[in-house]
């Protein structure tokens, strides 16, 4: 049986070798450097890089459709000089490489892997360590970036780059990657129709995930932990945000999710836990917040100027210091059917909906917004009295900001 299997395997190799040449790179091979292998390769060839350390930088691949496979995690050491690999091609893939020591610069965006003006490609299962930018895509489309692990030490570097940086591209899938310790974990600028799925972004200096001027994108199932701020979505529209976890973004200006000038989007089934501010919204219109959990945050939702037509439905607000904070008295947003752990009303008709409406904005949150130092009074009895009197006759807080149907039980979604 075993022999048969080997025979099959050999047959398999034999048939592929008819179509495409295979070039092996190792220290004792005929081809000793990756650049040499690339130079002699033709369209459709496979380059197999055996384990070992290759001190090469600025490896350039232009207009060749290659399959580059690292076996036993070969190391490309760019020795702090420039980009490790740059590619401009269609139909290629890079997998199984370890790239370290990418050069740093204020004016050049050196990267572990730079993909430029390319189409239909795959970058998978690579390890990048001590990089400036990790994987940098520009003017490209239909690419998949999956299973990569990018690490660096941006926290103690004056200059730092982004883990996965995508600029002016479309139809890109970023899946199952880990990005730890860079400036922004995943950064998208002018990127449309793309998907960011199941990634882990941790310990990044600025944001876990950052959208700028990007439309019609989806991010789903990601975990954002202990970043400067979890996710920033700015100047974008039609962004679909689902099943993500925003955790432990602590600090005086730290957010789980920062929304600025974003329209027509949806947040569903996300979990916000242990953030100073879970969501900060500024200039956001027509956004639906449905079935999210806000747990143990300083602020669950802080609404700043110009926020209209947002709908908050069936969310769980659990043990936050402030559930909703407003800067002004105007309200054009709807809160309905949410569960508020701070709700103290009753349900006499036993229909699961509280008989007394709930006002999520307290006077104290208004005071703290104006005078942040007032936070030292949190939990004082005087504040409880103030909040109560404001509840009875709202003067400073938006009078019509009411959840008419507060749920008596935590919503299961």
């Amino acid at each position: 049986m075993g022999r048969l299997f080997i025979l099959f395997l050999l047959l398999g190799f034999a048939t592929t070798s008819i179509h495409a040449q295979e070039i092996e790179v190792c220290k004792s091979c005929e081809v000793k450097t990756i650049q040499a292998a690339v130079d002699m390769a033709e369209n459709g060839d496979v380059i197999r890089i055996k384990s070992g350390t290759y001190k090469e930088h600025d490896i350039t691949i232009i207009d060749k459709s290659l399959t580059i496979i690292g076996e036993g995690l070969p190391v490309i050491d760019a020795e702090m000089e420039g980009t490790a690999i740059s590619i401009r091609a269609e139909n290629f893939s890079i997998e199984g490489l370890k790239i370290i020591n990418v050069g740093r610069s204020h004016t050049n965006d050196f990267a572990g892997i730079l993909v430029s003006n390319s189409k239909n490609f795959e970058v998978k299962n690579n390890r990048l360590d001590q990089v400036f930018f990790g994987i940098l895509l520009e003017r490209s489309s239909e690419g998949i970036i999956s299973g990569n692990k990018v690490t660096s030490n941006a926290k103690d570097q004056a200059t730092s780059g982004n883990g996965v940086h995508i600029w002016k591209s479309e139809k890109i899938t970023v899946k199952n990657n880990e990005v730890i310790g860079l400036r922004d974990g995943i950064y998208l600028e002018f990127v449309n129709n793309s998907e960011i799925i199941d990634n882990l972004c941790k310990d990044n200096l600025r944001y876990g995930l950052h959208f700028m001027f990007s439309d019609n994108d989806l991010y789903k199932g990601n975990i954002f932990e202990n970043n400067g701020a979890g996710v920033a979505v700015m100047y974008s529209k039609f962004i679909d945000m689902q099943d993500n976890q925003f955790r432990k973004n602590w600090g005086s200006a730290s957010y789980g999710l920062l929304l600025k000038e974003i329209n027509d989007s949806e947040l569903k089934n996300n979990i916000f836990e242990d953030n100073t501010i879970a969501i900060s919204a500024d200039n956001t219109n027509r956004i639906n917040y449905i079935e999210n959990d806000f747990k143990n945050n300083g602020y669950a939702i802080r609404i700043r100027g110009a926020v209209y037509d947002n709908i908050f439905e069936r969310n769980n607000f659990l043990y936050n210091s402030f559930d909703v904070a407003y800067t002004g008295r105007l309200n054009d947003n709807k809160f309905n059917n949410n569960y508020w752990s701070g709700y103290s009303g009753y349900d006499l008709d036993k229909d699961g909906i509280g008989d007394v409406p709930f006002r999520p904005v307290t006077l104290f949150s208004y005071l703290v917004n104006r005078t942040p130092e007032a936070i030292v009074l949190l939990r004082s009895m005087f504040i409880d009295m103030l909040d109560f009197s404001e509840k009875v006759s709202p003067i400073f807080t938006p009078a019509d900001l009411i959840d008419e149907q507060p749920q008596m039980k935590r919503i299961q979604w």
Partner: protein, 147 residues
């Protein structure tokens, strides 16, 4: 006790000065777009007449903020693109807008010293501070396109 009073008086004076505080990269947030300031090549800062500090992650943020709010600043500084980490006064700076410059807020804008060859090679897209402001007012910049 006397020492404490001296300290207090000293504190009073420093509180009123319009000396710009250095930007704490990685911790300070932009006054305009709220992004954390990380790039030393594109940052900008200003101090108002009363001594309030304004810090920005990009020069385009400073220009937009000042145009929208009509701030009157005592000091306006921008990062020197050729020597990141150092700041220059806007009146001693020349500005370049070029697609190859990837500034944080999509303005493709960087500042150089006025004497720099980049400013004086006679190519298009170089501005003085005053001209830059009128350019931002005229063009379809971030401010105008999103309001």
């Amino acid at each position: 006790m006397k020492k404490i009073i001296y300290l207090f008086v000293l504190g009073l004076f420093t509180a009123c000065s319009s000396e710009p505080q250095p930007i704490d990269y990685g911790n300070d947030n932009c006054n305009f777009c709220e992004m954390t300031i990380v790039s030393q090549a594109y940052s900008a800062q200003a101090v108002s007449q009363k001594g309030k500090q304004y810090k920005y992650d990009a020069i385009e943020c400073m220009v937009n903020d000042q145009l929208q709010h009509n701030y009157d600043m005592a000091v306006n500084l921008v990062a020197n693109f050729e020597q990141p980490g150092t700041m220059i006064d806007v009146n001693k700076a020349g500005f370049v807008i070029n697609d190859s410059i990837k500034s944080p807020m999509g303005g493709n804008l960087a500042a150089f010293k006025k004497e720099s060859p980049v400013i004086n090679d006679g190519s298009e897209g170089t501005f003085s501070w005053e001209k830059l402001k009128t350019h931002f007012l005229q063009t379809d910049s971030l401010t105008t396109s999103y309001q």
